[in-house]
């Protein structure tokens, strides 16, 4: 009893975030032997094995990223694209134009606010549902899991079509339901005339689509929380919140942090949900950084403006990405 006691209030129990046993220890133990054998014959073998992957990733990720940088300092428009003429160098002109444009700052502000709302809702609801799942009867948990997987498996294109239909001004279910409560005035209400309402629908779609991943991952982490510790804490008179704060939370914290960081990156890059709900041509009030870059490149055919905005986005996100990597390294995921 006393041992459990000290543990309950002691330092968090380190638990690998990977719900699957990875057999890390055995591979670590084998490492020196593998190395020795490798020394003897074919030190180059691993390099041959990874060569195709490196070439492919370099061709489709790293080269375009480099080209994004190069194009940002040029002025590539429709003429240069089709004639193949080299685009003229313009130095920092694209960046000074963009950063001097108040629209860019509005778009950035909108992107950050939208991301913050989506991440807060997703992580908050996701954590509550994951905690709830532990307390459910087995059959209810099964029903909820099936519902989550069904929602998760909807292709984005399909999910966007469903939400577009539900929020349709004429034939949408949402208007019908609201009209039943509030009055006939709501029939024919166009949700997208007011960007705040429009973003409400978009947020619904984003959060609905992201919750299954968050719940399934956090629930997997929660199954790692030792039950004896929670029971011991309960016996010692800890409140439900106290148990959560000192026993449950420390165990799931690394996973929660990683999922939250990923959500920040994904929701910052939200593109499809807005693009599809606004019929492939979002109005300027609906542009986030991704769409702003897209419309500059493909609607205004100023490809260099588009890449410069994309590059700024990459720089803005790199801090979050580095934080995510450090978390991964800390938990020993990259070993």
């Amino acid at each position: 009893m006393s041992a459990a006691d000290t543990k309950a209030v002691g330092p968090p129990v380190p638990v690998p975030p990977d719900p699957q046993p990875t057999g890390k220890s055995s591979s670590d133990g084998d490492a020196p032997r593998v190395q020795k054998r490798k020394r003897k014959k074919g030190e180059l073998l691993p390099y041959f094995l990874i060569l195709p992957a490196i070439v492919a990733i370099a061709a489709v990720y790293l080269y375009p990223l480099g080209k994004t940088v190069v194009m940002s300092f040029q002025d590539m428009g429709r003429r240069e694209l089709w004639s193949g003429e080299p685009a003229p160098w313009v130095g920092f002109e694209q960046f000074t134009n963009i950063l001097g444009d108040s629209e860019f700052w509005w778009v950035t502000f909108r992107t950050v606010v939208f991301m913050a709302i989506c991440v807060t809702l997703t992580m908050g609801i996701g954590l509550l549902v994951a905690l709830l799942m532990r307390k459910l009867s087995t059959w209810v948990r099964l029903v909820l899991t099936v519902a989550l997987i069904a929602a998760w498996s909807m292709p984005l294109m399909v999910a966007a079509s469903i939400f577009r239909f539900m929020a349709d001004s004429d034939y949408g279910l949402i208007n019908t339901l609201i009209a039943k409560v509030v009055g006939e005035d709501w029939l024919g209400h166009n949700w997208y005339l007011n960007p705040i309402q429009g973003f409400g629908i978009i947020t619904l779609l984003v959060v609905w689509g992201a919750i299954p991943f968050v719940v399934v991952t956090l629930y997997a982490a929660l199954t790692q929380v030792p039950q004896e510790l929670e029971e011991a804490a309960a016996l010692d008179g800890a409140s439900a919140y106290g148990i959560y704060k000192f026993v449950t939370w420390p165990v799931i914290k690394p996973v929660f942090t990683m999922v939250a960081t990923l959500s920040v990156i994904w929701d910052f890059n939200v593109f499809g949900q807005i693009w599809l709900l606004r019929g492939n041509k979002p109005e300027p009030e609906y542009e986030t950084l991704g769409l702003y870059s897209y419309s500059k490149a493909f609607e205004s055919t100023s490809f260099s403006q588009g890449t410069a905005i994309a590059l700024i986005t990459v720089v803005l996100l790199s801090g979050v990405a580095v934080y995510y990597l450090r978390q991964l390294m800390k938990t020993g995921e990259v070993e």
Binding site: T22, L49, I50, I57, K67, V143, S153, I162, M166, T307
Partner: protein, 286 residues
């Protein structure tokens, strides 16, 4: 001892609170599945109910008219064909390259191994437009617009990072001793891989390929930008043809969406357990 009496005393109270929680859990399940229900039910109800200001939660009758209209929409069969060609080729190619890389990362300690893993995780976080514009420009210069191969290359590489990380997770779980004893018994390194490692790796490969297949099947943005030829549209781009200036044929759109989502749902049910595990380490989204 005291604990048992205490829990007994608590039991009636607990049961009651569990009932409340169960109702809450069912409520959440209803909310989560409702859009899926609405998709299926709308695809099956008559068009007069869809084109109505008074949407009802239950259909009055069931019809397959919407499916008939969806199938009759131009380019339906070519879209299935395009989606299959592009997704399957990309996944097969991607799996071969990813397995090789996963073996190297999982079995050998070599210089550059960790940076390679980090790069694989990092590239998945790049915003799509940062890739889309230069890839479009490059493919345009190479004559890859409107060609399947352009899309195949993009999808193939898009599957690589998470597939490599996921398969690597399975590789490290196969004891090296198995391989070594096979080699002691006279098999070559390749023979040991083919006869010992590969069979053990097969379930992991299957899960990774299904996941990659679903991702390629669902992709729409690159397909929309890189393919302009109607007869080469993939299914997702073909879905956009249900919306014209005269409005959207929601009944047919819902029917077509149901057909596209159905294989994905089935595949998801098969791999959902493995996916949750692979996702936390692979940093990819479904």
């Amino acid at each position: 001892m005291s604990s048992t009496t205490k829990t007994q005393a608590l039991r009636p109270d607990r049961k009651k609170s569990r009932l409340h929680l169960d109702i809450l859990g069912l409520g959440i399940a209803v909310v989560m599945i409702f859009p899926v229900y609405w998709l299926v039910i709308s695809s099956l109800r008559p068009n007069r109910e869809i084109r109505s200001y008074n949407q009802t939660l239950w259909p009055t009758s069931i019809t397959f008219d919407n499916f008939a209209r969806a199938v009759d929409q131009p380019n339906f069969t070519t879209a299935i064909q395009s989606s299959l060609i592009v997704a399957v080729t990309a996944v097969v190619g991607g799996m071969i390259i990813a397995t090789l890389a996963a073996l190297a990362i999982g079995r050998f300690r070599f210089f550059g191994r960790k940076p390679l893993l980090l790069i694989m995780i990092l590239v998945q976080m790049l915003p799509p437009t940062a890739m889309l514009i230069p890839i479009y420009a490059q493919l345009n210069a190479m004559g890859g617009i409107d060609e399947y191969w352009g899309l195949i290359v993009v999808y193939l590489v898009a599957t690589l990072p998470f597939a490599t990380i996921m398969i690597r997770g399975f590789v490290v779980n196969i004891p090296v001793e198995l391989e070594e004893s096979a080699m002691v018994d006279g098999l070559t390194r390749f023979g040991a891989f083919r006869k010992v490692v590969f069979p053990l790796l097969a379930p992991g490969l299957a899960a990774a390929s299904i996941f990659a297949l679903v991702n390629a099947w669902n992709e729409y943005l690159f397909a929309y930008i890189l393919i302009n030829d109607n007869s080469k549209y993939t299914l997702n781009v073909w879905l956009m043809t249900f919306t014209t200036e005269r409005g959207t044929d929601y009944g047919a759109l819902m029917a077509a969406s149901t057909m596209i989502a159905l294989p994905v749902v089935i595949f998801f049910m098969i791999i959902q357990k493995k996916m949750a595990a692979g996702l936390t380490s692979g940093a990819v989204k479904g």
